[in-house]
């Protein structure tokens, strides 16, 4: 059985509709741009014990130093323990709610070329109804499962988000990113809350969302198996 060189890859699928709901533009592009932040979280998991290490009371047992969207280095936890408290969290969440433009799928209008150290969109399109803004819908994620009809089989996971243009002008999307959130809390408060970009693609084609129109952006992560 032939094997691809990359066991994990992603695709961006975009569909733009006009104010009447008619599809006016559609495309699918292979992603080229998982970032070092993504790999650093994997490193954090590789360094996670999976068992309570007694020497690590009241601090993270494992963490990854990522670069936040403001360019500062921050620790994103991947394993943590606390005494006398409830404790828990997540290392790389993307399921942001409606109106939240700080994580999940976030789109932009920049064209700065990609490199692995990217930590932010070149020019983020903010959530809102003002000029140059898009209304961010809630994130949805789907486990699409194992597809054995292709060789090699692939397992797909899809992240999706809708964007509405509630302004009176067209808005053009030229870059797509996935921003994740590490979030850990104990009874006394939140102890780790860090955002970090894990993928960014400058699209080979720009997508123009007309006034009153909408765009649906999906990121499909595909892992080749067997």
């Amino acid at each position: 059985m032939s094997q691809p060189l990359n066991p994990m890859r992603g695709f961006i699928e975009i569909e733009v509709r006009d104010r009447e709901g008619r599809v006016i533009q559609r495309g699918r592009h292979e992603m080229k741009s998982f970032t070092n932040n993504f790999l650093k979280i994997l490193e954090g998991f590789f360094n996670s014990y999976g068992n309570y290490p007694s020497e690590y009371v009241a601090k993270p047992a494992s963490k990854a130093t990522v670069v936040a969207p403001d360019g500062t280095s921050k620790d994103a936890w991947t394993e943590a323990y606390y005494d006398y408290h409830r404790c828990g969290g997540v290392a790389m969440a993307t399921r942001a709610g409606a109106g939240v433009d700080s994580y999940g799928i976030v789109v932009g209008s920049g064209t700065t070329p990609f490199n692995l150290n990217n930590y932010a969109l070149a020019t983020k399109i903010a959530h809102g109804t003002g000029a140059g803004q898009l209304n961010y819908d809630v994130m949805s994620l789907d486990d699409l499962g194992l597809d054995t009809s292709v060789s090699p089989p692939v397992y797909r996971v899809r992240l999706m988000r809708g964007f509405k243009n509630l302004t009176s002008s067209t808005i053009t999307i030229t870059e797509v990113s996935v921003i994740a959130r590490a979030y850990w809390k104990y009874t006394g408060g939140v102890v780790n809350d860090v955002l970090f970009l894990i993928a960014r693609d400058v699209l080979p084609t720009s997508y123009t969302v007309p006034a009153g129109g909408s765009a649906s952006v999906a990121v499909v992560i595909e892992v080749a198996m067997g």
Binding site: M8, L39, E79, C87, G88, G89, G97, V190, I221, M225
Partner: protein, 212 residues
């Protein structure tokens, strides 16, 4: 582009380096559970936020958590955990990098090695050492690697034909282990068996590589 490599060193000499072709579906499931987390939950919230069903090494299915919060624990016993830990200590042969003597072809639905070589010093066993993690980052090419050594402390050769990577999803509180699940995320069959002679050592490295 993301790809993975398996590197095998015998007595300090590299004897195999090849693409890892064998993530199994458990890997995608836990990745989904982690990405499907929300973050930002209320301070008082207890329990799961995102989950996935994986297969344990015995074949049974069970639920693991990408985002999870333990219950309140009014004692000094520590609460917390991780969605996916790999760094098992010396002598632990249940998670982290494991080796085996089986050669069944890989498939996406596998959940265990064909024939695990257990930790020990008796014939047919290998001594499982600690894990080490290394990494390198740049604008154009980066990698992270987890490695483990195995020493043959018996009087008989031990032949390795397969390599597996096992994760542990575990959350604990004072009076209970709320979740504790070990599950295989990758398995590779080596193209040629590698024989570890008495007092010989084997080093397995899983390297994940990111390039532009």
């Amino acid at each position: 582009m993301i790809r993975a490599e398996v590197v095998v060193e015998l007595d300090g000499r590299e004897v195999y380096r090849g693409e890892s072709k064998s993530f199994v579906q458990n890997f995608s499931k836990i990745l989904f559970a982690i990405l499907n987390g929300t973050g930002g939950v209320d301070l008082a919230y207890e329990g799961p936020v995102s989950s996935a069903v994986v297969q344990k090494p015995d074949g049974a299915t069970t639920t693991v958590y990408g985002e999870y919060y333990t219950k309140y624990t009014p004692s000094a016993i520590t609460s917390g955990g991780t969605a996916m830990g790999f760094k098992a200590g010396a002598g632990e042969d249940a998670w982290g990098i494991l080796v085996g003597s089986g050669s069944d072809p890989v498939s996406p639905t596998q959940y265990n090695l064909s024939a695990k070589i257990p930790h020990g010093t008796d014939p047919g066993k290998l001594y499982y050492d600690v894990h080490t993690v290394t990494s390198s980052y740049s604008d154009t090419s980066s990698y992270v690697e987890i490695a483990r050594s195995f020493i043959n402390k018996s009087s008989q050769p031990v032949t390795v034909r397969e390599v597996g990577l096992f994760a542990r999803n575990r959350y604990q509180r004072a009076d209970a282990i709320e979740v504790d699940v070990i599950f295989m995320v990758a398995r590779d069959v080596l193209p040629n068996p590698v024989t570890v002679n008495p007092l010989g050592s084997l080093l397995i490295r899983y390297r994940v590589i990111l390039t532009t």
